[in-house]
């Protein structure tokens, strides 16, 4: 695909995205995303899970435009709470608190919020250009993939997600195994035999992923919020001067460009959540700065760089999703599930077979970035007011939304029971250090993993060596092993250090 062809496809994408109904979905998505980013009570994954049932009756293009809007909108919104009340709306906005909040305390909240919005806009645009060029290239390269390559790739993604898990890797592996087991519930599509259904009709079609996801990511958050009181004082001073000064621009433009590009490429790697590159980019900027002592005390480049980075990383993560059909984080797992529900089959042929959806989405992201810039600057006072909604009431509302979201899909109360079960599982898991991300990724990919494994074994007449003799497969398997070895070596090294430090005492 040459540059001209890409440009023509993009023009086609704009003709799709600029249709009034799609423009409306884009607006709703980025507005909801910003709101979710602002509110610490709910994350973008839970918001997408809650919105998903409402998209079943929409056209897939409009629906994916809306859900993607929630995703990148949340990255914008997350900065507002980080700067104003030192409480990050999203994990990817944690770094923004380092310099954003000190700026607010110095009376420069407006400049920090403004630069965060501009930085996000510029980096968001850079990364969309990257997505536009890289995704089709990778998609073409993956056309030759068959069952063994897919199996190896999915196993690598899953291992990477467990490696990146914040807590213990062994617990993440346990969650991934549990997710895989859960995905086998229901009728086996090859032998048509019922598995783990125990004569329950509601289990015959498998476990519905909506209550599982909303429970694990939505209700779990609410249960946790009921245990801890939301703290943080809202800045009462008036926010003025949203437009950064010339000096602010001079200080920030290079960090924005550097961190934006870095975030995009980091986003492509499986398992990297947008929060990881933001920490690294902050460190890089501090090292490159002529005045590193200003970092942590209100340096505007400490806000601009990481904000640019987290927005760019979002687009980067979408490359493996659209070109290979492999989600590399929880949010993209949700988008993959949505695509499957709408009857799409994400994979190497996806971009060619669904140009309206892919290029419409790309174009909508340009439009969404402009909308976010327009929304963020004038609506900041409104977001601040929303933060004053009592947290208790907010959490009660989220419970109601969770129940409505799950019940309205099939009108079955059993789904709501499943929601509560997974809400409790998620809550207990969070307390005991078991993360939901590897579980949900294995659960969503489970069926595809099973089919590709069984097909591979049929192809090889029962020999597992098929995963080592095919070059691409072997690379994926080698990378998977490397990840596991890295994790084991890392753990051993930490243990040895701990023993040494104990001996010193």
């Amino acid at each position: 695909m040459d540059g001209m062809e890409t440009f023509n496809f993009l023009l086609h994408g704009f003709s799709v995205a600029l249709q009034p109904i799609n423009l409306f979905y884009c607006f709703v998505g980025v507005l909801a995303g910003t709101l979710v980013g602002v509110l610490p009570a709910i994350g973008p994954v839970a918001a997408v899970a809650l919105l998903l049932p409402t998209t079943f009756h929409l056209n897939p293009t409009g629906a994916i435009i809306m859900l993607a809007g929630v995703n990148y909108g949340a990255q914008y919104g997350g900065s507002t709470t980080s700067i104003l009340i030192n409480v990050p709306g999203e994990t990817s906005s944690v770094v923004t608190t380092f310099d954003g909040h000190p700026m607010a305390l110095q009376g420069r909240a407006g400049a920090a919020l403004g630069m965060a919005a501009f930085g996000s806009f510029i980096a968001g645009t850079i990364s969309i250009v990257g997505l536009m060029f890289f995704a089709p290239v990778l998609g073409r390269a993956a056309v030759s993939f068959s069952a063994p390559e897919y199996f190896a790739l999915m196993i690598m993604s899953l291992t990477m997600v467990t490696y990146i898990a914040r807590g213990s890797m062994i617990k993440a592996l346990i969650m991934a195994s549990a997710g895989l087991i859960l995905s086998t519930v229901g009728m086996d599509i090859i032998s048509t035999k019922n598995r783990f259904t125990y004569n329950l009709l509601c289990l015959q079609e498998g476990i519905n992923f909506i209550p599982v996801t909303i429970g694990l990511f939505g209700l779990r958050e609410v249960f946790s919020n009921f245990e801890t009181t939301f703290k943080g004082d809202i800045l009462r001073t008036k926010i003025k001067g949203l437009l950064p000064t010339l000096q602010d621009w001079k200080d920030s433009i290079l960090p924005i460009l550097r961190c934006g590009t870095f975030g995009f490429f980091m986003g492509i790697l499986p398992g990297i959540s947008p929060s990881v590159p933001t920490f690294i980019s902050y460190g890089i900027e501090k090292k490159l700065s002529k005045h590193p002592e200003r970092f942590g005390k209100g340096a505007i480049e400490g806000v601009a760089g990481p904000e640019a980075c987290n927005n760019a990383a979002v687009s980067g993560t979408q490359i493996p999703l659209f070109s290979l059909g492999i989600p590399t984080n929880t949010m993209n797992t949700m988008l993959l599930a949505a695509l499957i529900i709408w009857g799409m089959s994400p994979g190497p042929q996806f971009i060619r077979n669904s140009p309206d959806l892919f290029w419409g989405l790309i174009a909508s992201m340009y439009i969404g970035n402009v909308l976010l810039l327009l929304l963020n600057l004038p609506l900041i006072p409104l977001w601040v007011r929303i933060l004053r909604v009592p947290p208790l009431l907010l959490n009660v509302l989220i419970i109601i939304f969770c129940v409505i979201g799950v019940y309205s899909v099939n009108g079955q109360i059993e789904d709501v029971y499943l929601l509560i079960i997974f809400g409790v599982v998620g809550f207990l898991g969070k307390k005991l250090g078991y993360e939901g991300a590897p579980f949900i990724l294995a659960f969503i990919l489970g069926q595809r993993i099973e089919i590709s494994l069984r097909q591979s074994l049929i192809m090889s007449d029962g020999s597992f060596s098929i995963f080592l003799t095919r070059p691409i497969c072997a690379v994926f398997i080698a990378l998977t092993l490397a990840i596991i070895i890295l994790a084991v070596v890392g753990t051993l090294r930490t243990k040895i250090k701990a023993i040494e430090s104990e001996e010193e005492f």
Partner: protein, 158 residues
């Protein structure tokens, strides 16, 4: 670390159960795997990982941080109240209908967690449940249960 011992035991038993059930489902031949094949592999992995976790939990001494964490009780009752509220809500959801059950849930949670006057709580619960009903049931046609209010003219509008 005591928690890890308990959870790893739970996972181990669950893993063994899955392995047993998968064998019953049929593993098939390696050339043509059966319906229980993948869940069998999942069960084996789960059992192995839980054994690793169990061994780890016995080897690693509890750190001061863990002891501190145990002492930190926090607002533990908060989760139980929320859970009781949600469970009752779901039990009465189809019987009393969305409007009444939501009103009761909001009243229950606000009363449990906030020391506000009754009239304020009832007013908030009324506004929240009615707004949610109008938005989701009437405007978005989410097909929520009418319950004992079925037959009322407002509810039959949808």
């Amino acid at each position: 670390m005591k928690q890890d011992k308990v959870t790893s035991l739970f996972w181990l038993l669950f893993g063994i159960f899955i392995v047993g059930e998968s064998v019953k489902l049929g593993l098939g031949k390696i050339q043509e795997p059966g319906p229980g094949f993948v869940s069998f592999l999942g069960g084996i992995c789960l059992s192995l990982f839980s054994v690793v976790l169990m061994v780890k939990s016995f080897l690693v001494k509890p750190r001061i941080k863990d002891k501190e964490a145990r002492n930190e009780t926090g607002k533990r009752y908060g989760f139980f109240f929320a859970l009781i509220g949600v469970l009752i809500y779901v039990f009465i959801f189809e019987w009393l209908g969305f409007l009444i059950s939501t009103f009761l849930l909001v009243t229950f949670l606000l009363k449990c967690f906030e020391q506000k006057r009754w009239w304020k709580i009832l007013l908030t619960a009324g506004v929240v449940s009615l707004s949610a009903f109008v938005i989701f049931d009437i405007l978005l046609k989410a097909e929520l249960p009418a319950g004992i209010l079925r037959g009322l003219s407002v509810l039959s509008l949808k």
